[in-house]
Each structure stands twice: as C-alpha cells, then as structure tokens.
Amino acid sequence: MSPLGTKRRPSWIALLLQGWLVVACAGTGPSLSASGPVEIRQYQGQNLSAISDILETDIAGPQYVSVDTYRLKVSGLVTKPLELSYDQVLGYSHFSKVANLPCVTGWDATLLWERVEIKDILATAGVRDDASVVIFHGVDGYTSSLPLAFVQANDILLAYKMNGLTLPAEEGFPFMVVSESKWGYKWVKWVDEIELSSDTSYRGYWESRGYDNNGDRNGPMFQP
C-alpha cells in the first residue's frame, strides 16, 4: 500500500523498457568483450570474401577431424612413406596468399590462405621417377587428382587457415588443397592422404561423374 492508501500497480511500460534494456545489453555484450581472432576481410588493399560466402557442396557433409588422432599419409610411389601429425605439417615453411576459389555451380570466393607447399612434403617423402599423378584423399571418401608436374611447377598447397582463422570444420579442417586456377572440385577438403601414382587414367570423385579431369578454370567444365 502506498502512503496515500492507494494500491500501486506495476507500470507495464516501465517493465517492458527494463526487459528491452536487459535484452539489448545482453545482445551487445559478446561483441564488446570479443577477444578471439577476427576474420580478415581486407588484405594488402584487396577485399576478401567472407568465409560464410562458401557454399556447402560436399559429398557427405561437414567432417569433424580430431587433431590428436589426425595423420597425413604420403603414400604410393614414394621412397619414404610418411605419416605426419598436424603439428609436423605446420612445421614446413608456410606463407600467405590470396587465391580465388571458383565453383562450377557459379559462385566464387576470394580468400586469404595460409598454407604449406605440397612439393616440400613430397620432397621429404622422395618422389619416385615413375610417379606422374598426385591423388588427394579426403576423410569423407572424396578424391581428386592433379598431374605431378603441375603440382611441382605451381603453388599447389595445403591450407590450414583462411582469412586469418584456422580452417573451420565445415571448410576442411585440418587441411584443404588450394589448387589455384582449377575448379573447386580440385580443392580437396579434409585431406588425410596424398598418394602418388603412375595411373594417368585415374579419375577422382567428380571427374568420374562427368566433370573434366583437368579441371582448368578456363577450360571445359565437363568431359567431352
């Protein structure tokens, strides 16, 4: 009861305002206190796409790989087969580069990639003379291949970061092949094996389902 003897009713407007303030403050809280790594959206004057711009077109959906159990195998026609842990792969010299990921379905994304060169890893394993094809295997069963000469002559790399952030699980953590100038189906995600082969007729997952084996961005998209 109020001193005047009348019953005070709650002000619904005041209650609504208080509720709105609580929600608004809660909404702004995390952004004000964010301290984690931030996605880079501009690099050396060049605008970058957002990681979220990459559409999910994987054959079995996102894969979640544990760093503790992860091993990158280098097998096939090599003198010294390798099994490298995540940290061992990161031990190779790495650098950053902006590259455009083009998808056959029409979209593309320009991103900053931090990566190691595959030819350095192959040099450690020792490539045999009869090897001519590099086959990349993903943990989801996806495969694709590139000619060995192309891999050795170009910057074909294993990326572990995009736009300054460690690869998200949806985008191929721990490693993704960055095959610049090739269609996106040559950019294998969740790579867990690099196999060297002499089988020039080998066709990867999409290549055996109608897409061109060369995968050149400026070349034909489909097999003749």
């Binding site: 054959i59 079995a60 056959v104 389902r209 998209m221």
Partner: protein
Amino acid sequence: MMPHVQGQTGRLTSKPSSAMVQTRGIGEGRQAPQAGQSMFVWLKNERTIRRIGRWFGWISLALVLLTILTGYGITQFRIVTPLTAGFLGKAVSQHWHESLGLLVLAALAVHVGIALWWRWKGTRD
C-alpha cells in the same frame, strides 16, 4: 441441344438464339470461311494452332519443372541423385540445367505467342 426460352412469349424451341453464339470463346466460331476455302480446312487450321499452343503450354510447364529439379540436382545432389536412382547426378543436372533455359524460353514464347495471336484475332473479328 437443350430447349430454351425464346423471346418474351416463353415458347420453348430448340433453335439456338444469336445470343448463344455470341457467348462462345473469343474468336471461336466468329470468322466465316473465306471464299474458296472449305469449312474443314478452316476449322482444322484454327483448332490445330490452338492445340499446338496448348501443348506448348504443357511442354513449358514440364520444362520449368525439369529446370527446377535439375537446379536442385546441382545444389542438393545428395538428395536428388539417390531419388532419381543415380540418373540425375550433379554433372548431368548442371549440363541439362544450362541447356534448359533457352528451351523454356522458346516453348513459353510459342505458347504465349499463340495465345496472344488468338486473342488479337478474336478482338479483330
């Protein structure tokens, strides 16, 4: 022909009134055959053209549905490929999808063109 009321007398007759003829579809039955042209050829041509127009409408609809399906075959291949028993894979879908655009436009143009021609003909006559 059902008997109907003719005039104010209320007398029943089986003869169609001129008002009944006027209630037909636009252009239908209005144009008299030209001199020297048989009734059969005149009817056949008009109806054939309209029938072609109608068929192209259905063809357009089928092509639009196929375009949508192949579009899903590209983006949702994990669902569409097994649903079509592997027939509509991603590459096949994309191949078809890219070719279907022109076909849809052509079929739709024929369908709409004939419909417009028929309407124009009906208002002219």
